[in-house]
Symmetry: C2
Subunit: 504 residues, 2 copies
């Protein structure tokens, strides 16, 4: 059949895997969320900057977690001049390029924020996309732990500005130097042990999820998960494993909020490592600053198991964890991390050839949005649509169009039905558009100089009521009424006011 052959010639309308479209409700909610975070960042003196989605591949570097093969994880293409270009995989590497390129004209320290899409050429999965939005803030040019402390406090303030109550989140802080000290102390320093160190760090990172036994297995011979898949371990001996576990299991909170005592207990695992000692000293300074600013342990805490995946971190690392559960039967943390960051003193130095300290914080926008939606702090369902003016007589399009214009001029969202359907499809259309009401003018109304306003919200309520009762009669009056043409705007305003819909 001709029809069949037509179909086979058609292009299939589909998105590549790991990519998604966004609905009106999601877009409006994301915008509202970003506006609230932006207000906090601007109050802290951070200013916006924006870099393009494409950079030279060598400028981005290779710092992605879990990517052992070169170029893995990044979308790349060859430019006309035979140089490799890549889509950015985060907003930090491009910022480092930007700062290095504009070093002489920027104020230093340089505080900035940016929001934008990043791209990962990875295997997509549930909640794991190949394009997603990040919202970053960074301070470049300050080695002071006060810059890290400020990041943590700003992150806490931003979370609260979104309506997440104190007690439902915590900013967890650690330091890569402490982790390096722990590794040094169990004999894993040097280039030869780089791979093993990475395996140990990844195991520590999983403590929240897998607990003591799982991490011990990953530090030792390896671990078989529920599905039977085996993950090869770091091959540490019992004494090394005990040392790492002892470090992980001395969290700050176990010391009743006494940071000195908590950090001293971490100190046991770093032995004589000077790097480790430096890390502990930095954490103590951060702790002193956030306490002086009255950020309690309920808001900013310290956690020895925080690692953060990206390879470029060199000092303090932090993440924001949401501590409420989505499952009422289970009190355990569920949402987990919605953002994180840390100190990356080497990234700008790659370009400058001189040390340029930097620290930053990145929010995973869609994860945070999901959390806010779960908490009922934001609405991702689209709001009410526009008023729809229906078309009864195609020769009178200009008249209908002028009704729409009158409504719009009064600040009321309104549209003209532009399809070819008769009455029933027009009502179905208004329904899909979530119109609060429709405006109708057939030849009868026209002859009388009137328009009919049909309140669709009351109409829907009416359908559920018993006929003849007083409430039914009252609603019937509201559901549909004819008014003189000149009173169109006024009558529509009454409908909107009835349902609490603000004019634009």
């Amino acid at each position: 059949m001709a029809d069949k052959s037509d179909k086979s010639n058609r292009f299939k309308a589909r998105l590549p895997r790991g990519l998604e479209d966004h609905t009106p409700g999601e877009i409006a909610a994301t915008r509202a969320m970003i506006d609230r975070i932006r207000a906090v960042y601007e109050l802290y003196g951070f200013e916006p900057v924006e870099t393009p989605a494409i950079e030279y591949t060598d400028a981005l570097g290779k710092f992605l977690p879990d990517q052992d093969r070169p170029n893995e994880g990044v979308f790349s293409f060859l430019d006309d001049d035979e140089q490799w270009l890549s889509l950015r995989y985060d907003l930090t590497a491009p910022l480092a390029r930007y700062v290095a390129e504009n070093f002489d004209t920027l104020p230093k320290p340089y505080r900035s924020y940016r929001v934008g899409y990043v791209f990962r050429n990875e295997k997509p999965g549930p909640g794991r996309f190949r394009q997603f939005m990040q919202f970053d803030a960074d301070t470049v040019g300050s080695s002071s732990p006060a810059a890290d402390a400020e990041m943590c406090m700003m992150a806490a303030d931003a979370v609260e500005a979104l309506g997440i109550p104190r007690g439902s989140y915590v900013v967890k802080v650690n330091n890569r130097k402490v982790l390096d000290g722990v590794l040094e102390c169990i004999g894993l320093s040097g280039e030869a042990n780089a791979g093993k160190r990475l395996t140990v760090l990844r195991a520590i990172d999983k403590y929240d999820r897998l607990g003591r036994e799982g991490v011990a297995a990953l530090l030792g011979a390896g671990r078989k998960d529920e599905s039977g898949d085996f993950t090869r371990g770091a091959g540490l001996d019992t004494k090394q494993i005990q040392s790492v576990l002892g470090y992980i299991e001395s969290p700050y909170l176990a010391h009743g909020g006494d940071i000195e005592s908590a950090l001293d207990s971490w100190g046991k695992a770093i032995g004589l490592s000077s790097t480790g000692k430096e890390g502990i000293a930095e954490l103590k300074q951060i702790a002193a600053l956030v306490r002086a600013a009255n950020y309690g342990t309920d808001r900013i805490s310290f956690d020895s198991s925080v690692v953060r995946g990206l390879e470029y971190y060199t000092g303090a690392v932090f993440e924001v964890d949401l501590t409420f559960s989505t499952d009422s039967q289970d009190g355990s943390p569920r949402f987990g991390s919605v953002g994180g960051g840390g100190r990356y003193d080497g990234l700008v130095a790659r370009f400058r050839g001189e040390p340029v300290p930097a620290t930053g914080f990145s929010v995973g926008v869609s994860r945070l949005l999901a959390a806010l939606e779960h908490l009922g702090k934001i609405e991702t369902e689209a709001a009410r649509g526009p008023v729809v003016v229906t078309v009864f007589d195609k020769d009178r399009m200009a008249d209908y169009q002028n009704m729409v214009a009158a409504l719009r001029n009064a600040g009321i969202r309104a549209e003209l039905y532009l399809g070819s359907g008769k009455f029933a499809p027009q009502m179905k259309y208004a329904d899909r558009r979530k119109a609060p009401c429709v405006v109708i003018q057939g030849s009868d109304e026209k002859a009388k100089g009137e328009v009919t306003i049909k309140d669709l919200i009351v109409g829907a309520e009416l359908a559920k009521l018993e006929k003849g009762r007083e409430e039914h009669l009252q609603k019937q009056t509201q559901a549909q009424r004819a008014v003189p043409e000149a009173r169109l705007v006024e009558a529509v305003r009454e409908v909107l006011a009835r349902h609490g819909i603000a004019p634009h």
Copy 2:
């Protein structure tokens, strides 16, 4: 020298050509501009939708102007499953994919808008980038000229909402079917003449810039430009050229606003072509609708030379031209087109295998921004920065930090100096940050329980005044004053009020 070898190992911080970073001022101005346009589109009932930057190459199609080679103009890469992916080159082709994919659940006609970056792998030049922002609105599922008329009226309203006065812009309308009719009438129909038709359309498109003589040359043997470069012409004969020129040179305005007479004069060039007649009829309907809605020829006009470059247009085409000049000595249009669009009835049909009419309008965001900046309607220079609290005694970081917190809690943008510099670099920093004032507390002030507020704006004025005069003395009092610690916020508020800086 070791230093030299270090330098040669460094990565160079640079952007690939045709890509750009955006400053705080540009970002804020773009956001303000988009907000104003969005308000108009929402008032018209359009709702947002967002698609990803990456699509299947075959879903995007090849509709770019001036791209004769396949794949030219588009950034593409091979996915793991050997399918080609591309970065979107406009926002229309992805919308067509989106509508086709969600056809059954979308209201029809479907009005939507979207803003986002698009990518062109083209030779960059001045004002010509490989990544730029577009802001589109589309109505899919209506074949009615009322949908095209609505696009034109909405575009005119959006331009005025941005503060561009009536008389400084015009929405110009034409119809591809009329152009097809003209080509048919001079014997250029049929597949064999496709290339020639394209050359003729491109020549017509250049009438604004090259005038009669230039276009006549491009329609005939070809044209040598000022630099001596030769562009091969369409090879039409004198009679054909006369016919095309006659059509171009019968613009609407020459008929004193009488659309019937103007379009009848265009009709001469289409002879008996039924396609051409259809186009004329559609234009007459659009004209009647916009006139009925009181959009005069100063806002929406008709222009036989409007072509629009993209190949997918099938009916009405329109563009928004800014008619003011940037050069005061020259009254000729200078800014030209800041947006355009048209009817593309074939794009969704590629996927659906059934006709799905559509019409849309796209704004070139940075071009429009440049125009607004030129008109003084928007400020792309960054506004005043935050209040800077300086650091005199590094052991008292917590105290300084608490001053900053007190200012922020009062809604005042404020930041702590986080660098390692002494007084002079801190003042230089505050200057670069455009700080309205700095807060200072050295050991003397601390001993007295005071803070010093230095008004940098008054300070700059002071430096220009003659010493000893009354004004100088008065400003001196304002330029620097000590207040009790408890009055810090109040005193900073006074400085901000003096300079009309609103709190956050």
